[in-house]
């Protein structure tokens, strides 16, 4: 259970505070509601490039990192398809340093030609290191592009190609900042040993005077329903073939999210889960195997994936996944199995609430998806699901004509 208070400043900035009495550290999280899904298909990778640029200094404070570090703090950021998140942990006594820096870079960034040029090179190296110079580095990109034809989830956060990043102009970058980095498009969240009212006063002090320019909500093209089984085979210089099958499912606030989550736990939540027991240990078909949901804000994917052992054929491996699916569709999971994944979900939720950073980050996230109280309702929602719910989810989602299969074949 995470207690919190929420307030909206007059410029539209949402502020949420959790009072944690055990820690000597404080966490400040700022989430901007912009991700790769807001990008133009001809200029992908911009949201992530922009996350990098947020560290290149402002007109007031040319160096972002040093003052944080002088305050014994640590900070980082990440971008995904839905949002961009910046977080700082530091001793509570230095909390205002974090607010000073975050409020300053919300509108005061110094976007010089030189800074953009260097940061573009860094991001291109990241592209090469993590996606091109890595066995299986492009597998997820290929799967996305197969499963989505219209929705911007069809590209990964890093972008479609390094050229998109290379060619981004300074004007495009400045427009992106003005469009998305506004108080009304941001959520400030906090966890630490301080009363919420006191934090709200500090938030007002540092962020209250930032002017806001609102823009209409971004229009995201909807993905049309899929009506045919899709399939792609690529050959790469990797030691083992992998097979992934992705199914489209509902969005983050739909019942599908929890159904998908619990189903993926039945299949792959821990070493006693079905895929590991059946496909690795008993049938010895795979070296590794997984089932997961992408959990995106808009309609997401349910993915089966596995790396084949050298003795396994592609047909055997693919059939093995479909056998597991059929089992889910035709036989109810046992009460024991259901109770197990529910206990595990509850424990993991509690383990995740042990530190201030996770709490501040989660508060921002649930506000972003549009249902902050859900942060304390998830365990209960998850507990309410039945074996029949899972079977009908499996029936509805795991259909051939809703599937995208990627064979990543070892040469």
């Amino acid at each position: 259970m995470i207690t919190y208070h929420k307030k909206t400043l007059s410029n539209g900035l949402t502020v949420i505070a959790n009072h944690d009495t055990t820690s000597r550290m404080a966490a400040v999280n700022i989430l901007y509601k912009v991700g790769a899904r807001n990008e133009n298909p001809n200029r992908t990778g911009l949201a992530h490039l922009f996350e990098h640029l947020m560290f290149r200094g402002t007109h007031q404070i040319p160096d972002f990192d040093t003052p944080i570090q002088m305050a014994c703090g640590e900070n980082n950021a990440f971008t995904n398809n839905d949002y961009t998140d910046f977080y700082i942990t530091l001793p509570l006594a230095n909390i205002e340093t974090a607010l000073w820096l975050e409020s300053d870079r919300m509108r005061g960034l110094n976007l010089s030609e030189e800074a953009c040029k260097i940061e573009k090179r860094v991001v291109i190296e990241e592209f090469r290191q993590r996606y091109l110079n890595q066995p299986y580095g492009d597998a997820n990109m290929l799967l996305r592009a197969l499963a989505y034809k219209v929705h911007p989830y069809r590209w990964a956060t890093i972008g479609i190609s390094p050229e998109h990043i290379e060619q981004a102009s300074i004007e495009e970058i400045r427009n992106f900042y003005d469009r998305f980095y506004q108080p009304s498009n941001a959520i400030l969240s906090f966890s630490g040993d301080m009363e919420a009212e006191e934090f709200f006063t500090l938030a007002e002090k540092w962020f209250g005077s930032i002017p806001n320019t609102s823009h209409p909500a971004a229009e995201i093209p909807a993905e049309p329903a899929q009506c045919e089984a899709r399939r792609q085979v690529v050959e790469r210089d990797v030691p083992a073939t992998t097979i992934s099958i992705a199914f489209k499912m509902g969005n983050r606030l739909s019942a599908d999210f929890f159904l998908g989550d619990i189903t993926s736990d039945i299949l792959a939540g821990g070493d006693s889960a079905r895929l590991y027991e059946h496909l690795i240990k008993n049938k010895r078909l795979f070296a590794s195997v997984n089932a997961y949901i992408t959990g995106d804000v808009d309609c997401g994917l349910f993915v089966f994936t596995g790396q084949l052992l050298p003795t396994t054929t592609e047909e055997q491996a693919e059939q093995a996944f479909w056998d597991e699916i059929e089992e889910l569709q035709h036989n109810f999971v046992s009460e024991y199995e259901l109770e197990k994944v529910k206990n595990k979900f509850e424990a993991n939720t509690l383990f995740g609430e042990l530190n201030v950073m996770n709490k501040a980050m989660n508060l921002g996230y649930y506000e972003m998806i549009g249902d902050l109280p859900l942060i304390n309702r998830e365990v209960e929602t998850y507990r309410s699901l039945s074996a029949a719910d899972i079977a009908s989810f499996a029936e509805r989602i795991f259909r051939k004509e809703n599937s995208s299969t990627l064979i990543y074949r070892a040469k």
Partner: protein, 420 residues
Amino acid sequence: MKQPPLTIPSTIDVRAAEKHCASNGTNIYVINCPEYEVVRLSFVFHAGTITQQHPFTASATANMLAEGSAALSSQQIAERLDYFGSYFDINIDRDYAYITFCSLSKFFEPTADVIEEVILHPTFPAEEVATYSAKRRQQLSIERRKVETIAREKFAHAIFGASHPYGISYSEDMYDSLSREHIVKHYQRCYTAQRCIVVCSGNINNKVLERITSIAEQLPTAEADTDLGIPSFDTTHTIRHQHDGAVQSSVRMGRLLFPRTHEDFIPMQVLSTLLGGYFGSRLMQNLRERNGYTYGAFCAMVNFQHTGYLALATQVGKEVTDDALQEIAYEIERLRTEPIPQEELDLVKNIMAGELMRILDGPFGIADVTTENILCGFDNSHIQTHLQRIRQTTPEQLQALAKKYLQPQDLVTVVVGDFK
């Protein structure tokens, strides 16, 4: 608006670990944090890779403890831990094997029953050994397609010698010769009371401690090994390894130094942090921010039981490999020739103090630091000493250390990439 004033912590108060001794001689360290309704329990055995007598035995033993016991099959073990939402984590380094269990306090009792089976009665079934070996063999062959994996292995060869227990690596084919007997033998030799410490944290009331003790005191006793030390090192200074098709080169540099107990270890930690231990470090400023050669560059002191070393790592665009090497050499040379500006040193000190505070925030982090201290022969008062030693370093002292320890002819350089 104006920069807010800063408060820099000059002390860190950490709970001392309470030490208990089980009847068989196993030392149990307790860090009681009753405000958290969780229990974390670690068994640390002197059973790392240098203790093995056959390739891959040490990691296989640690990783397979939960793959079947006298009373429970591997599936039952996994099933019971999952059922209560408990989990375990296995870590192994060259010296030690760390087996850590976490559970909610309300499920500690049933979790402890499983822990007892895993730690005291593993059977290492031959079938499970076969599955494990096939899986690991494949994972390793994938890992070895990455330039950074090759560079890490070559760097260990270069620093310690390719056949030294700290430097050696084995072909993945050697998994085929790994048998149940090797593992059982290793378990019997290394998983004993004399080679074990137990560290627990979270809500450790008397009942929990009694249960932990009842497990620890069943560990078999063995005559303590006479510490034979380790063979001497055989350093190679330069390795260039061709890896076809790499778009980036992986670079490792460093040198053999000394373990954490050495008086220069902490100041060398300060120096390595300054060079490459944080986001704005000199290597990051130069290679990433100024030149865009890389996504990241790191430097740190690494501690082993019998020695320690300084290591620097980065992955750079293939076409700028030589430029990057030149810049790295330039940054190291600067440490030797120019005194560090006081402001930069203060920054590094605050970063290191902040890191220490962050690690020590919460019961699990305190347990990790306690474990590290015990293995080096310190108690938790060392944390305060550590902080003071960091704060006392001066530009003169660091420059003198750089002159002494970072002479170009002493450094080891390993580059893996496509040079064609």
